[in-house]
C-alpha cells in the first residue's frame, strides 16, 4: 500500500496543492498567450515588410517626384514660401525613403510549420521566465526566451532546439525547503504570471490598433473576397507616380525651355 495515500495532509499542504493547480492552469494559459503574441508580432513584421516592399517604396518614389516638382517651382518662384515648401517636400521624401528601404522592409514572409510551432511551444513551456524558481534562473530564462523569440521569427528550428537543450543542461534549480517556502514561491509565480498575462493583453491590444495591423486586417479581409488590395494600392500609387512625372516634365519644360 502506498504510504502517501494515508499520509496526513496539513491545511498548508492542501493550500499549496490548490495553488499549484492554479499555477499549472495559468502556466498553460501563459504559453498559449505567449505563442499568440509571438505569432502576431511575426505576422505583423512580415506584413510590414511586404507592405513596405510592395507599396511603401512607391510612396517613397511618389514623394521624391513631388519633392522634385516643389524644388523646380521654388527655383522659378524664388519665394521663401516656395523654398520652405520644397524643403518640407524633400524632408518628407527622405523620411519615406528611409522607412520604405529600412531594415523593416527586409522582413521575410512568416509561415511557421506546425513542427516549428510545436517546438516553440515546447521552448516556451520549459524556459518561460515566469516559471523561474529564483532570480538567477529567471535571468537565464530571460536571455534564452529573447533568443527563442528571434529564432522563431526566423523559422530557425535548429536554434530553438539548441536553446531548449541549453536550458535542460543548466544546473537544476534548487527546490524550496518546506511547505511554507514552497507556497510563498508558488504565490509569487502566480503573481508574476498574472502580471505577464496582463502585459501580453496590453501589447496585443497595442499591436492590433497599430496602423500596420489595421491595414493588414483590411488586406486579409479583401483577400478572403479574392481581392489583392496591396496590388490595387500599388497600382494606384504607380498611376500617381506617372501623373507626377508628367507634371514634372511639364514644369521642367516651362522653367527650362529648350
Amino acid at each position: 500500500m502506498n504510504p502517501e495515500i494515508v499520509r496526513y495532509i496539513s491545511p498548508e499542504e492542501q493550500d499549496l496543492a490548490r495553488k499549484r493547480e492554479e499555477l499549472a492552469v495559468l502556466q498553460a494559459e501563459l504559453i498559449d498567450r505567449e505563442l499568440f503574441l509571438a505569432n502576431l508580432r511575426a505576422e505583423l513584421a512580415a506584413f510590414e515588410g511586404r507592405y513596405l516592399r510592395e507599396v511603401g517604396v512607391l510612396y517613397a518614389e511618389l514623394d521624391d517626384w513631388n519633392a522634385k516638382i516643389a524644388e523646380l517651382v521654388a527655383e522659378v518662384d524664388g519665394s521663401e514660401e516656395a523654398k520652405s515648401a520644397a524643403a518640407e517636400a524633400r524632408a518628407q521624401a527622405k523620411e519615406s525613403y528611409a522607412a520604405a528601404h529600412g531594415e523593416a522592409a527586409k522582413a521575410a514572409a512568416f509561415s511557421p510549420s506546425p513542427e516549428l510551432r510545436k517546438l516553440f511551444r515546447e521552448v516556451v513551456r520549459h524556459i518561460h521566465p515566469d516559471s523561474a524558481m529564483d532570480e538567477a534562473d529567471r535571468a537565464v530564462r530571460n536571455r534564452l526566451m529573447a533568443g527563442a523569440n528571434l529564432a522563431y521569427r526566423r523559422g530557425d528550428a535548429e536554434a530553438l532546439k539548441r536553446i531548449l537543450e541549453e536550458y535542460k543542461s543548466s544546473p537544476e534549480s534548487v527546490k524550496g525547503e518546506g511547505v511554507a517556502a514552497d507556497l510563498e514561491r508558488v504565490l509569487r509565480q502566480i503573481g508574476q504570471i498574472v502580471k505577464r498575462l496582463a502585459q501580453i493583453e496590453a501589447e496585443v491590444a497595442e499591436l492590433n490598433s497599430s496602423e500596420i495591423a489595421l491595414l493588414m486586417a483590411k488586406v486579409e479581409s479583401a483577400e478572403a473576397k479574392g481581392r489583392n488590395l496591396l496590388a490595387e494600392m500599388a497600382k494606384d500609387v504607380r498611376q500617381r507616380i506617372q501623373l507626377a512625372r508628367n507634371e514634372y516634365e511639364d514644369q521642367r519644360l516651362k522653367t527650362r525651355p529648350r
Binding site: 508580432r41 510590414e48 523620411e95 496602423e211 500596420i212 494600392m233
Partner: protein, 403 residues
Amino acid sequence: MSAGEEQAALVRTQTAALTRTGTKSLAARGRADLRAREEAEEWFKKGLEYHLQQRYDDAFRCYKHGIQVSPNHSGLQLYIGLMYHEGQGVPQDHEQAAVWYRKAAEQGDARGQMFLGYAYDHGEGIPQDYAQAAVWVHKAAKQGYADAQCRLGAIYSSGHGVQQDYEQAAVWYRKAAEQGHAGAQNNLGESCYYGQGVPQDYAQAAVWYRKAAEQGDADAQFSLGFLHHHGWGVSQDFVEATVWWRLAADQGDRGAQYNLGVMYRNGKGVPQDYAQAAVWYRKAAEQGHAWAQNSVGCAYNKGQGVPQDFAQAVIWFRKAAEHGECNAQFNLGESYYYGRGVPQDDEQAEIWYCKAAEQGDADAQLILARMREEGRNECLRQSPTAHGQPARSRPNTFLSERQ
C-alpha cells in the same frame, strides 16, 4: 534592471519596431488612400444608380464628389467624360469629354481609350486624327476589350489611320467574335462571305452569322436568311430563311422586310399572302428601299393585297425610279405610256423608258425602238396584250449588298 523589467524592455523594443514612425506614417497613408478610394467608389456606385435611373443631375453630382476625394479614379473619369459627351447633368461639352476620356485612357482604362479613339475618329472635342484614333482603339483592343477589338477590325477594314489590311481586320474581328461580340461575329461572317482576309467560305460565314443572329444581330439574321434562301454553305431552306428574315424585319431591317414581302408574295416558306406581302413591302418602302417601293407600286397597279389604285402605284414607281431603280423606271414609263394613274404622256414615257434602257433593260429598249419606228403607235398602246401586261417587278431578286 530587474529580470521582469528586462523582459518588458525586450518586449517593448519588439513592439516599437512595428509602431515606428516611418512605417506608421506609410501605413497610415496607405489606409487613408484606401479609405478615399472606398469613398470614391461609394460615390461612383451611387452615381451609377442615378445614371441608370436617368437622374443625370444627381449622377453627375455624385461623380464630381467622388473625383474630388480620389482624383485618379478612372471609372469616375470615364463617366464624367460620358456625361459631358451626352450633355447629361451638365451642359454638353465635347472638349471636356475628351479631356476626361484622356485622363481615364492614360491610366489604362480600356473604355476610356476606346472613347478617346472615337473622339479622334469623329473630331469631337479634339482635332480629327484617324491615326490617333487607331492608336487608342488599338490600346483598348490589346486589353481584350471586345468592343474595341471589333472597332479595330473595322479600322483595318476601312484603312482609316492605318494601312488597309483585311487579314488584320479578320484577326481582330475573330478575337472579339470569340468573346461572343455579336457585331464582330457578324463582321467575321462578312469576311468569310466575301473572302476578305480569310478564305472565301459560305459555310464558315454561316457559322459566324448564326452566332450573331442568335444574339439578335439583325444584319446577321438577314445574311443567314439569305444563305438559307440560296442554300449557300447551308441547306436550302425557305422556312428557315423566312424565320431569320422575320426576326430581322421585326427589328426594322428594311432588306429583311422586303425579302419577307417577296416570300409572302411567292408563297415560299410561308403560305402565299398578298396582303402580308404588301404590308412588308410598304414597311421597307417607307424606309427608302427602292425595290420595295417598286413592289408597292406593282401591288397597287395590280390590286394585289391592296385595293387597285393606279395613282398610288405611280407615286411609288416614281420614288423608286428617282432612286435609279430600273424596273420602276420601266413601270413609270408604262404608266405614262398607257395613261394609268397619270395623264397619258409619250414624252414622259420616253424619258423613263430611256432611263431603264440605259441601264440595259431589254424591254424598254425594244419599246423605244418601236416608238421611234412608228411614231405614236396607237396600235401598240391599245393593244390588249400590251394593256393587260402586268407591271414588272423582280420578286425573285434580293439585295445582295448589305449594310
